[in-house]
């Protein structure tokens, strides 16, 4: 605490420090100075006047004597001159009067002896004046100069007057000496009076100012005294002093201070009271310590919580009592939040400590310790604490619940994964085997039965896919992918789907894309495709004739994000109001009759809805019964700016030609698969196109095989995911550890539809995926993609011109087959698919669809149309 420094008065007070004198003296001095100046001026003027008067008197005297003595001078009547002079001596001012003749002889010489005019004879004559400029002057003062006199005391005034007879002849001179005594005396008198008056004025001024200033200064003093009392008694008021505005204002201010101090004190008191009450009513324990950690305050709640009373605790080192079972126990200072808060000079929270009660019991506490700082120095601390036993318990319960939930969620995922795998694997086998069986020599009935098995299996697979998709969506296991794709690619796939599905129906399909839809997008390609496929399939299903249009437009485009609307419009049967309402709910078709008529699980729209919602979109339908429907959905995508890590898009299946497949014939492929059925199937697929297949039944075998084999022996690895001993991921990781195997294409064969799986594959180092069930349609393009050609591709001459001869032969054979309702026709169609499609794609599609449905009549007419279109 610093004390205010004492004011030091300088040793030499140039100005007094008391206001009284500081005011009075300068004013008085100024007044005196002014008066003195005026007195000086007045005295000077008066002196000048007196001197002027004297001079004029002297001149007058000399002149009159001069004139009067002309005759006497001429007649040398000295007696008359003498008498004239004696008479003139009556003029009190004259000291001597002398008359000179033309030769400078004194003819008359009169002065005063003992006050009487007396004539003198034979005194030495003063010299005559030499120039006319020295006729009136003062003799030097013979009495000495008075130091305090502003003017030199004048000697006598000498006046010379020439006597001439009026015609320029100088007869003589008059010399009069006049007494300046009176003038000097006047001067002295004036000065004495001045000084006396000066003194008088000084005193008067001092007195006047003193009197004027006395009262205000007294009032100021009163203000000072009052101000001092403010330090210990507030609220008192004192009367003002209206005479002087400033002093009155001072009083008003002091009164204000006094009352505001009183108010502040009252507020402080109330505040303190309130705080005390607050502290008491708090639901938390509060205590305060001084710098050494001794308790200075404790509230009621604290008492209750720790069992010690205020009286017991105040003054004691509270922390050691709280942190230890016995008050004398040791505790680590650094573990006490209060000491840490104080040493760090900042607020500290801690909910890991426990306090001991008086009875020795312990309870967990949440503490907030706040150091009390004053000017940066720690004065003490305030600690607020709560009993958090309940909370801890709750936390523990929550933690276990969370763990249980996580476990259950993991169980669900595993279940889904397992189910997916478990279901798909046999399905894969069924479908594959059926396909293979159909490729063998069969009688029509067998073919028919097998076809039906295949169709049913496919149908079942699609149902299972829907169910698994739906379950995945419900379980929240679906993740929106971010991949870059070309819109054109999507549209191509949709177009081919359409042509696949709509064969036979007189429906035209068109796609309209808004000009401001960017060609390149980033989003979940597969999900979008799934929804559109669903809509389009539905549209085809429920439309007999007319048009199906796909409309893509932009709803919103903001920086990198773009919201697109995809709408599929058809001219089908349409929906009633009631039907529309029930759509998009799980398991609902328009009504049960339609499911029977049109097939389908009813899950498609529900899945579409959830998929759209995953992509931050919505679904909807506009329809009028009998007039067609428009099914739409919106989805949020991003515009492609940078190359995002593109998951390899499931490339559409371009039709692979035999010629293309021939280029990879002979490629050495490692098949890693544990399931014998799948092994068999895959081997057949691969050997059909001339590839050599090596088998590994699990990941570990695969790794060993690859490591032992010379570098470059394998062109591709087809890796199953779930295998015993070592699964696909681990195997891939191990394989990739070898630098020489870094570039080896590894394709994952995954029955797992979960996107997480795909991510894991990518991270493990897989290049691509083949979703199960695997068909040649999906397998061959992939092989072509990843396996470098062993045999240069024979580019078939892409002639628009059709080999008519071949066509005729094929056509004839097909016609015969179909007419005979032989299932072989399907195989035949497949063999010459390329050729036939090239002629008339729609008719081909129609034909194919009919054959798939084992509808030979429709197939025949389609074939006819096809052949006629050449």
């Amino acid at each position: 605490m610093t004390r205010p420094s004492r004011l030091r008065l300088p040793h030499l007070p140039l100005l007094p420090h008391h206001l009284q004198w500081r005011l009075s003296l300068p004013i008085a001095l100024v007044v005196c100075l002014a008066f003195f100046a005026y007195g000086l001026y007045a005295a000077r003027e008066q002196s000048k006047l007196a001197e002027a008067l004297l001079r004029s008197q002297g001149e007058g005297l000399a002149k009159s004597i001069a004139i009067a003595s002309i005759d006497a001078l001429l007649t040398r009547d000295i007696e008359t001159i003498e008498q004239l002079l004696l008479r003139e001596m009556q003029n009190q001012r004259a000291l001597t009067i002398q008359v000179f003749d033309g030769q400078g002889n004194l003819v008359g010489d009169v002065d005063r002896v003992n006050g009487e005019p007396t004539s003198h004879y034979a005194r030495p004559a003063p010299p005559l004046p030499t120039s006319l400029h020295e006729l009136i002057f003062y003799t030097p003062d013979t009495h000495g100069i008075h130091a305090w006199h502003p003017h030199t005391v004048r000697g006598d005034l000498i006046v010379w007057e020439p006597i001439d007879n009026g015609i320029g002849v100088s007869l003589g001179w008059v010399r009069a000496t006049l007494d300046t005594g009176p003038v000097n005396q006047t001067h002295d008198l004036i000065w004495r009076n001045n000084l006396f008056l000066l003194l008088l004025v000084l005193l008067t001024a001092l007195l006047a100012v003193y009197l004027f200033v006395r009262r205000p200064l007294k009032e100021l003093d009163r203000a000072r005294i009052f101000a001092r009392t403010l330090s210990h008694s507030w609220g008192m008021q004192t009367p003002g002093y209206p005479e002087i505005i400033e002093i009155n204002q001072l009083f008003e201010a002091l009164n204000l201070v006094s009352s505001s101090l009183a108010q502040q004190e009252k507020a402080l008191r109330e505040g303190r009271h309130f705080l005390a009450e607050l502290a008491e009513t708090l639901g938390e324990g509060v205590y305060a310590t001084d710098r050494e950690g001794r308790c200075t305050f404790m509230n009621r709640e604290a008492e209750r919580l720790i069992g010690w009373s205020r009286q017991e605790m105040v003054g004691q080192p509270i922390c050691s009592w709280l942190h230890t079972r016995h008050p004398e126990g040791q505790f680590a200072e650094h573990s006490c939040p209060r000491t840490m808060a104080m040493s760090q000079k900042q607020l500290l929270r801690d909910d890991d400590t426990a306090y001991f009660r008086k009875d020795g019991s312990r309870f967990p506490v949440a503490i907030i310790a706040n150091p009390l700082l004053e000017n940066g120095e720690v004065k003490g601390a305030v600690v607020v604490f709560q009993d958090i036993s309940n909370r801890k318990q709750a936390e523990a319960t929550l933690r276990s619940a969370r763990d249980a939930a996580e476990a259950s969620s993991r169980a669900k995922s595993d279940f889904l994964a397992n189910m997916s795998h478990e279901i798909r694997t046999p399905m894969n086998a069924i479908i594959g085997m059926a396909h293979l069986a159909l490729g063998t020599q069969l009688n029509p009935r067998q073919q028919d039965y097998l076809k039906k098995i295949q169709t049913s299996a496919q149908h079942l697979l699609s149902i299972i896919n829907d169910v698994l998709d739906f379950s995945k969506l419900e379980a929240g296991k679906s993740v929106v992918e971010r991949m870059e794709f070309e819109l054109a690619t999507l549209l191509e796939e949709i177009a081919s789907l359409y042509s696949d599905k709509s064969a036979g129906k007189p429906i035209t399909f068109s796609i309209h894309v808004d000009p401001d839809v960017p060609p390149r997008l980033v989003g979940d390609y597969l999900k979008i495709k799934q929804i559109i496929f669903n809509y389009v399939a539905n549209a085809i299903k429920f439309t007999e004739q007319g048009e199906i249009d796909l409309l893509i437009s932009v709803i919103a485009h903001e920086r990198g994000e773009i919201q697109l609307k995809f709408a599929v419009r058809d001219t089908g049967i349409g929906l009633t109001e009631q039907q529309r309402k029930q759509l998009f709910q799980s398991f609902h078709q328009a009504d049960s009759s339609t499911s029977r008529r049109y097939g389908g699980t009813g899950l498609g729209l529900a899945i579409s809805k959830r998929l759209a919602e995953l992509m931050a979109g919505m679904v909807g339908v506009e329809s009028r019964y009998g007039a067609g429907s428009t099914f739409w959905f919106t989805a949020r995508l991003e515009t492609a700016s940078t190359k995002t890590a593109a998951l390899v898009v499931e490339s559409p299946h371009p039709e692979v030609s035999e010629a293309q497949l021939a280029t990879i014939a002979g490629a050495h492929i490692l098949l890693v698969e544990d399931n014998p059925l799948n092994q068999e199937m895959m081997r057949i697929f691969l050997e059909q196109i001339g590839c050599r297949v090596d088998l590994a039944e699990n990941g570990k075998v695969a790794v060993n095989t690859l490591l032992e084999a010379p570098v470059g022996s394998y062109a591709l690895v087809l890796m199953d995911m779930q295998m015993p001993v070592m699964d696909g991921i681990d195997a891939c990781i191990l394989i990739r550890q070898r630098s020489e195997l870094a570039d080896l294409p590894i394709v994952a064969m995954t029955a797992n539809a979960i996107d997480e799986e795909r991510q894991r594959c990518l991270i493990a180092g897989m290049n691509d995926f083949l979703p199960k069930p695997i068909t040649p349609d999906t397998l061959y393009p992939l092989l072509l993609h990843w396996i470098p050609p062993t045999v240069p591709e024979r580019v078939p001459p892409t002639t628009p011109q059709v080999d008519r001869e071949q066509l005729a032969r094929v056509g004839e054979e097909l016609t015969q087959l179909i007419s005979n309702s032989e299932l072989k026709a399907i195989h035949m169609l497949e063999l010459h698919a390329e050729l036939l499609r090239a002629i008339a794609p729609e008719h081909y599609q129609e034909l194919k669809a009919a054959l798939d449905d084992i509808d030979f009549d429709t197939a025949l007419s389609a074939l006819g149309k096809l052949l006629h279109s050449v």
């Binding site: 000295i78 003498e82 004539s119 003198h120």
Partner: protein, 278 residues
């Protein structure tokens, strides 16, 4: 009218009658003429009180007669106009010769004419004054001018250049100033000078003393009256007031004089030769 008053009236009448009988009472007041050495006013102031006293004592009446200049005065007494006249010794001789005026009284102290030079003058004897300028008051002032000139020329056989400067005061001052080599005055006026002035002068030469200015009476005045006047005049010297009066009249010590004894010798001086006529 009361008896007392009647008696008083009668007494007056009688006195008047008697006074008529006395020839002197019948006579008109005597004229007294004074030589106009000074201004009329001054003379009046000096003589009137004295004459009044004598009047009171003698019962004689006197009237002062003023002449504006000395020549007029001289013409006057030569014509016998004034009854009494106060004149200088030379006038007395002339008046006696012409009219028979009888000198009655004069101042006891004899008159001496002096010749003064500046105290530091180089002139130490009268011979040095030959051919020099000498100041004299009025030309016919007896002691200072007339007698002195006559002596200087007749006796000392000097050639002088006289300068007439009107008053004794001027003579002395001019001598002091050096305007003239010397100046003529009388011992009385010299004695009256201020000390400082007198100190600057030196008496070079003196005339033999002569009787001073007399008061002469015309013979027509009866002898009784002449005697009354003289006695009263002489009695003045006996008291203080009288002495003061005498002092004013410049006859401090009056004595009776006799023509034969005091003034006859002056006839031989042939002073009339040195009278300057104006």
């Amino acid at each position: 009218m009361s008896l007392h008053r009647a008696v008083r009236h009668i007494r007056y009448l009688l006195a008047l009658l008697l006074s008529l009988l006395v020839p002197s009472a019948w006579a008109a007041p005597y004229t007294v003429a004074l030589v106009p050495q000074f201004k009329a006013r001054q003379l009046q102031a000096e003589w009137r009180p004295l004459l009044d006293r004598i009047s009171a004592e003698t019962g004689l009446e006197f009237k002062l007669r003023f002449y504006s200049s000395i020549p007029e005065f001289e013409s006057g007494f030569l014509a016998g106009e004034p009854d009494f006249a106060f004149m200088n010794p030379y006038h007395a001789v002339m008046a006696h010769k012409k009219q028979g005026y009888i000198p009655l009284l004069s101042n006891a102290q004899p008159l001496t004419g002096i010749l003064v030079v500046a105290a530091n003058s180089a002139i130490h004897s009268v011979e040095d004054l030959n051919e020099r300028r000498i100041a004299f008051p009025a030309p016919n002032a007896f002691g200072a001018s007339l007698y002195m000139r006559a002596l200087l020329i007749e006796k000392e056989r000097l050639i002088i250049h006289p300068q007439y400067v009107s008053t004794h005061a001027n003579v002395y001052r001019q001598v002091l100033l050096g305007d003239v080599a010397a100046g003529g005055g009388v011992n009385q006026t010299f004695a009256d000078l201020p000390d400082s002035l007198r100190a600057g002068l030196r008496i070079l030469y003196e005339t033999p003393p002569s009787a001073s200015h007399p008061i002469a009476v015309h013979p027509r005045v009866p002898e009784a009256d002449r005697r009354l006047f003289s006695e009263a005049f002489l009695k003045l010297g006996q008291d203080e007031a009288g002495r003061a009066l005498l002092k004013d009249a410049r006859i401090p010590k009056p004595v009776a004089v006799d023509y034969e004894h005091d003034y006859r010798p002056l006839e031989s001086l042939k002073l009339e030769r040195y009278v300057v006529l104006e």
